[in-house]
Symmetry: D2
């Protein structure tokens, strides 16, 4: 059994992770920490857990004392809060999967530019592996530190990777218009998050400035083999979960719709969590799963590809992807305890 | 492995059942039928199933030909449609769990009064077992025909049973005010069901006339030992799933809040799917599970008990309760493949 | 023109009031106050107002300086915060309509019992008029201080008044099961209010303890002519607006459904904001209006009346009722600027 | 008073129009027609209207007999159904505002290509005026036949017009990613429209094939002075109302964010229904109004403009724009009875 600890277990991503670890057949939860709910029983915060989990949350300092009793540390903290604990865990030989943003960007200056913060553990950046298993499975196997991808980057990269791998689109033409459920805004008590402020409305935010932009660019640049700058616009949609990303690129080669789908199917042929479909993805079909549904269609009149991808932002966009990474790191089957079918409606 | 067939697999309850059977470790799905989608692949109706289930739906007549290849038949049809197929199945020694209403009322005249239809298989009524395992587990073990309870009755009976068992309330004082998500209205293309007609509104319906009333009365009367007439009012709430039932009764004995909770905890002490809680239930904590959360509080000023229960209408109110019945009928652990923790948010 | 000030203009009820005053043909808004947004332009808080209202919020102390420039002060504060300003306003001859709870209960000891606070302006209680125009129109005309009714009491009292007026039900049998949209919880940044905690769930709260209970009892007792104790259970429903109250009482006289409706129609025959209907009310049909839709049906099997009423909690349950009171106080037509038809869907 | 008739009064756009006409100070409703509800009282279909409107619906043939008793005919029918009645109305000198698609495209061959139907009243195409008052106010004054714009085109054209007028973007680079509430799918009883199929999910549809594409292109080409082909992707969002359009174009000139906003403010300086704002639009701030909120921001890293616009799809995207056109055609103030402030929350 893999002994795990979770830092930041009461945010939405952290809780989703606890949900998955609770049902995982190969893990033992050793501790859960919470900044706001230290010493509080987990099932009084999320009352669904009554009868399933009897842990109480501890604080991060207690957790540091317990690092030597775990094999793997999951971290689900806001950016900039993970430096100390990661250093300590790695020094003790504890593997780390960070669901936050601190180790995703390989460049500490990009980190500073976008997160307005000096990176305080630069040495880890070269060692960390970007935990998108569809791209980096081999590296993940041997990694000690996984930078679990952001929710928008997961949906965006999986939609665009086949196109860039095959040079099918003009790399300067990429636009990603993404839509997320409100859980993406986190479990924080702000006026902007309250029901009546979100319900029955849609808005864009972070236009030309969202922090997931450089992460998407870094990874797509790697695939493409050259630097890519792109436009990324996130939107908030009145639903709990789900991300739909609609990505646009100008075709640089002649290709039919059928061949385009074939390119995608080939690219993802051994990737069981990506479903290339002919229909248009809807977030409800992947809700509560580790799946990414993706399709691509050609807009002949404008010579563009329009790729649409759907994920659950808390799952493939956060917690279940972290478990997928764990499975790979610890030699388990990649889909161990992740064989989840969306519950509809 | 239990070989099962599902009649009516594309309605919401039927689909939820398929979802559960698909993940059940001890069942094989032999066939699925659909009235509207005969010959259509299941994963093109519910696209979540792509990669999980490759069945196509058949029609009910084809299903009749295949009855000898199954051990158990689930039926999820509108009332009045099950008579023939149940007769045929039972004649062949196939066990039946009917999620519909045709075998719940023991009195065929009550059936006619409330459903406006002559019952066409009266002989089965004495044989059928009301499939609420918290009340009838022993009978379910040996049953050939299970009348799976309605969604509102499940929530209502579980909330009131301990009170009536112990004669704590005046049996003539019972009022049940229940609230359901829209999936309770079924997957049918009616104006009243479309998004904009349901969203951002709440309504009562079936006042003093809903068909679940006699079912609740029948079962509570059994527990109480005398005939009970009660008021039941269902409401439609703008959410996909969940039933919250708020039940009222006038106290006939002196009892404290603490003792009241103890009565409930004793009554349900071996029932793993009923959680007696001190807090007030919310449907989100049982969504996607076979659980019923229940509490009771005394309104001292009026000398009433107010019991609140929450279930998922498609799960404990339909499909997962059917699987719980199957587990019991076939000698499996009652909770086999039903150890489901609600996914929040 | 009536010169008005609004204390607490940025909460949901306060804002709804501003919305109404802005379109009212006979009022001038002199000032708006806000605790959290003092000196902030109103249209930067509620961006809908851009081009409609160019006020900035002031704080309550500045407002006190301006009392002599207004004819009427509206107050939309949490309970216990209005004592000082009401005293000052009345002393200056400024009329007051308080949307809060401080002057609704005629008994200061009841106030203390339910609100856990000593009432600090007891003298005003005898003078204040309970501002439910369907009951107290004549008193409202001459009032200097209006206690604008709570949202749940408005829906509940209007549903039950005709029954009690005519002694049609047993006064000890009353149960009110009410359901409210989330705006009823106010515009406050609490975890319990955030989108993902409210969406896709329903809960009861304040069981046997909600502060609107004594207010309903006081008013129904007045109508009935004797003290009434009743059970009141509020619920939170995932929608922005609306209250549906389902009220139960045991019939004490023989009456037909038709005669029952006639009783209601007679009782409300000159009341243009109460619509007695044969169908069952839905909150969507009164959303954004000052209307209360109400019906009553007999449950013959249990000899009960079930009355269902629907209002918009922010309108007839708060702001538009306040404007209705203003219209009456200042000799305008009762429906001046309140002729609002619900916008659907 | 303008005497008006409405063909198709029970669809969502038709009903919204009735709502506006009911409160309009200068119109009399002479008749309402409905295909599905002929001879049914309007207030039994939309129960909000009880006490406001006592019309019953008639059928379109009865309406033809009454054309000589009206000054203006509104039509809210599916495409292809308006040809006969428009011909008859115009022949009688009755002015027509068609909320449908039949007279928007000036080219009958484009109409055939996109709508798969031969246009049966080609003569009207040259005469009809595209009823976007911000572009064509002068023509509208004298028009007999107004082609009221589609909902997506209204939002899209208003967002992009200033950019194309001033040649600020490369006309071949335009991408419009639009999101609509479910009322945009109409009031029709289809499985795809029912609550549980739409709620808690988002999807794209009509990729590279939506019929509003040529309409947007036609109007933007007119402004630009040359043919434009663009990509347009609509999405369905789980809310009743609202369209948010996010539009992208590559900058062809150097310009600052400040100057860009100035360009928009100048372009719309006399247009009271377009609010150029610095913040990012949200649909809730324009819900229930004739307003379009719009902003534009430069993405410096990619040298693109991202313009975001928000409207209410049933109002500025349909019914209130039709009333705005009526006001202009009949010499009233453009904003007569359209001075609507969004009701929030």
């Amino acid at each position: 059994m893999i002994r795990v600890g979770v830092i930041g277990a009461t945010g939405y991503a952290g809780q989703q992770l606890v949900w998955l670890l609770n049902k995982h057949t190969k893990t033992n939860i050793i501790f859960l920490t919470s900044y706001n709910y230290s010493d509080v029983s987990y099932d009084s915060i999320y009352r669904s857990y009554k009868g399933f989990l009897d842990n109480s949350c501890i604080d991060i300092h207690e957790a540091e004392e317990k690092l030597n009793s775990i094999d793997l540390l999951f971290i689900a903290l806001p950016h900039g809060k993970s430096f100390d604990i990661v250093k300590k865990a790695l020094a003790l030989g504890v593997k780390v999967i960070d669901l936050g943003a601190d180790y995703r960007l390989k460049s500490s200056s990009e980190y500073k530019e976008w997160y307005k913060l000096d990176h305080q553990y630069v040495d880890a950046l070269s060692e960390s592996v970007y935990g998108l298993p569809e791209l980096y499975k081999e590296d993940i196997k041997d990694a000690n530190l996984i930078a679990n991808p952001g929710c928008y980057p997961t949906a965006s990269i999986l939609a665009l990777a086949p196109l860039l791998k095959h040079g099918l689109i003009d790399a300067s033409s990429i636009i990603i218009d993404a839509k997320s459920g409100v859980s993406g805004a986190g479990r924080s008590a702000k006026i902007a998050n309250i029901f009546c402020e979100c319900n029955e409305s849609i808005k864009a935010y972070g236009i030309a400035s969202h922090r997931h932009t450089p992460e998407i660019e870094q990874e797509l640049s790697n695939i493409y083999g050259d630097n890519i700058a792109l436009s990324f616009t996130p939107h908030l949609v009145p639903m709990n979960r789900g991300i739909l990303a609609t990505s646009y690129g100008s075709l640089s080669k002649d290709i039919t719709n059928e061949d385009l789908i074939t390119v995608y199917k080939d690219y993802y042929k051994d990737k069981r969590f990506v479903r290339v479909i002919d229909d248009v993805p809807e977030t409800r079909w992947v809700k509560g799963t580790n799946l990414c549904d993706v399709t691509a269609k050609i807009d002949k009149r404008t010579n563009r590809v329009i790729a649409v991808s759907a994920i659950d932002n808390l799952m493939k966009g956060a917690a279940s992807q972290a478990v997928q990474n764990m499975n790979i790191m610890f030699g388990l089957d990649e889909s161990e305890s992740l064989d989840l079918l969306a519950m509809a409606p």
